[in-house]
């Protein structure tokens, strides 16, 4: 037991190299200081591995890509484009659908939906920058 604890302590030290900006954390469930600290360490560790994994895939793809793959890619691109065009044609209908969902869920949604400006602060995607 003691030996396992010592080993875990040493491993913990070995991984503790995270240095990022401090952040204030509030939540209705206690997240636990130790848990938040290790989360940052893990994010950095797996973040590095994640980046390596993606680069490795790209390198592999570069060397293994064949004519057929390129043709396939072109084909898929064309399909995706036509799907986007088809979607654009239906956009007005979709917007109406979204409004009706909001109206069913939010109290003043019917009124808000018509005035709703996505760029307005506090309103969805504009502010989030996603």
């Amino acid at each position: 037991m003691k030996r396992q604890d010592d080993i875990d302590n040493e491993l913990l030290k070995a991984f503790a190299f995270a240095r990022l900006l401090p952040v204030r954390v509030n939540g209705y469930i206690g997240a636990g200081t130790g848990s938040l600290i290790i989360q940052a360490v893990i994010a950095l560790t797996v973040g590095g591995l994640f980046a390596l994994k993606i680069y490795w895939r790209r390198i592999k793809a570069f060397f293994t890509r064949k004519e057929a793959d390129v043709e396939d890619l072109e084909q898929r691109k064309a399909e995706a484009l036509s799907a986007v065009h088809a979607e654009a044609d239906e956009t007005s209908g979709e917007e109406a659908g979204t409004e009706s969902i909001e109206a069913a869920l939010l109290p003043e949604a019917a009124a808000v939906a018509s005035e709703f400006d996505p760029a307005e602060p506090g309103a969805v995607e504009g502010e989030e920058g996603i």
């Binding site: 396992q4 491993l11 913990l12």
Partner: protein
């Protein structure tokens, strides 16, 4: 939870709102303090996306007065889950699917500028056979740099029990019954084999996580020094959690009943006959909601589904529940819920004031119970007197389809082989006498080419 009016016992922790019942209808009050997050959930399109993917419970605005008007913003009416089940009643793959659903929800939420503020396994329920988040108020606005507040809870509720079931013993999920907020990570770290430290995800998410929790619980630390996590870092963390969860394999372990149907006392023909008799009985009573107790891998639950709208199949063996759940997925069966229930020690009411999570009995009664090839286990393996077996079933249902297995049956002989036979009233006469006070026999059919008899009984 009662059928009338009042707040729902398990819904008090989050100040964002709570569930209540009015005139039997399930409603959720949302408080003003959650208004912005709720509006963001709807307007960001996250509600629609998750609901469309079957990951978040459907709700509609309810034009009814709030339960507590002070601080109230809105009342919504969520779709009601017909049968509430708990993580300690799920098999490995049910818990794994619930974990993957939680991670999928969190990834989609991040894409739309929100984040899960909790990751409780109790927020996931099986609806139409698939895991769905039932807490509409689990989302908050995501801010760059903020760590995932529910990471620790996710590890305790999902990862720790899954690792323990996969790497140690498939029965370890029942530990969740004792630890209502998930298996403490230091306990998981102690129980997992030492060699699991060689697996990077287990080393990080369990062993070092547990060590870090211990280290900093003893140290005073300025919250300002807690480090933030970039969005990419958070996505990598979720990717790691998802990859390790996805890779986890169910460990069979030599459990009792998984091959039961290969060892029964029935020929294939007699087995088909038994199915026909059960089918007839269920049709005769017009069974709607059925509990198949001791239902093994759910063969007779599937017969019941031909008549009933919903069947819950309960068994003590994790291998059976696992096999049953996988078959449900394969066949797209939406109305059959396999659960791990030990009838000798069924799920009690647990949590704050022993009210947060319902006992199995609080989730009944149902119109019909199937108790096939079960009575000898209750009486001979567990020494329960006949009259108490009858009162047990009388508390669960109106219609009872029960199989009497006589002492001469080889399965009963097997149970008696290593013990003294103290069961003088374990006879057909004793069985009928024990049940006669509470039940009336409606039908009685002997299973062809066996000594067993099927009874259809109705509660008096």
């Amino acid at each position: 939870m009662d059928g009338g009016s009042g707040t729902v016992a398990g819904s008090f922790r989050d100040p964002s709102g709570f569930l209540f019942r009015r005139d039997g209808k399930l409603l959720r009050q949302i408080n003003q303090r959650y208004r912005k997050d709720y509006e963001l959930l709807v307007r960001s399109g996250l509600y629609e996306e998750l609901n469309g993917a079957g990951l978040l419970i459907t709700h509609r605005r309810a034009d009814v007065p709030p339960f507590k008007p002070d601080g109230s913003y809105l009342v919504i009416e969520p779709e009601e889950v017909p049968f509430i089940s708990y993580p300690y009643e799920w098999c490995f793959s049910q818990l794994k699917d619930a974990a993957l659903a939680t991670l999928d929800i969190q990834k989609r939420a991040l894409e739309r500028g929100m984040s899960l503020k909790d990751a409780s396994a109790y927020n996931i329920q099986f609806l139409r056979g698939r895991p769905v988040l039932i807490d509409t108020l689990s989302f908050e606005k995501y801010e760059e740099g903020r760590p995932w507040i529910a990471y620790s809870q996710f590890c305790r509720h999902f990862l720790a029990p899954l690792y323990l079931m996969s790497r140690k013993d498939n029965r370890m999920g029942v530990l969740l019954k004792s630890f209502i907020d998930g298996i403490p990570l230091d306990l998981a770290s102690t129980l997992l084999p030492f060699r699991t430290r060689l697996r990077l995800p287990i080393l990080l998410h369990i062993h070092l996580h547990a060590r870090s929790e211990k280290k900093y619980s003893e140290e005073q630390i300025d919250p300002e020094t807690i480090k933030g996590i970039s969005r990419k870092g958070l996505l990598a963390l979720l990717d790691s959690l998802e990859a390790t969860t996805r890779k986890l394999k169910w460990k069979a372990g030599g459990t009792e009943w998984a091959e039961y149907y290969d060892e029964t006392n029935y020929s294939a023909e007699a087995f088909e006959q038994k199915k026909n008799i059960v089918r007839e009985f269920l049709e005769a009573v017009g069974a709607r909601e059925v509990w198949d107790v001791g239902g093994n891998v759910g063969v007779f639950s599937r017969v019941a589904l031909e008549t009933a709208a919903r069947v819950v199949c309960m068994d003590i063996d994790p291998s059976c529940v696992e096999a049953n759940y996988r078959k449900c997925l394969e066949d797209g069966e939406e109305n059959l819920l396999p659960l791990l229930i030990d009838l000798f020690n069924p799920s009690p009411a647990i949590g704050w004031e022993a009210e947060e999570r319902m006992s199995i009995f609080q989730r009944g009664p149902v119109d019909t119970v199937l108790a096939l090839a079960l009575i000898h286990h209750l009486i001979i393996s567990n020494n329960v007197p006949m009259a108490r077996v009858a009162s047990f079933f009388a508390g669960l249902c109106t219609n009872l389809v029960i199989e009497f297995v006589p002492k001469s049956d080889s399965q009963v002989q097997r149970l008696l082989s290593a013990r003294e036979d103290i069961f003088d009233d374990y006879t057909l006469e004793g069985f009928l006498a024990g049940f006669s006070e509470l039940f009336r026999v409606e039908r009685r059919v002997a299973v062809p080419s066996s000594e067993r008899i099927l009874f259809l009984m109705r509660r008096r």
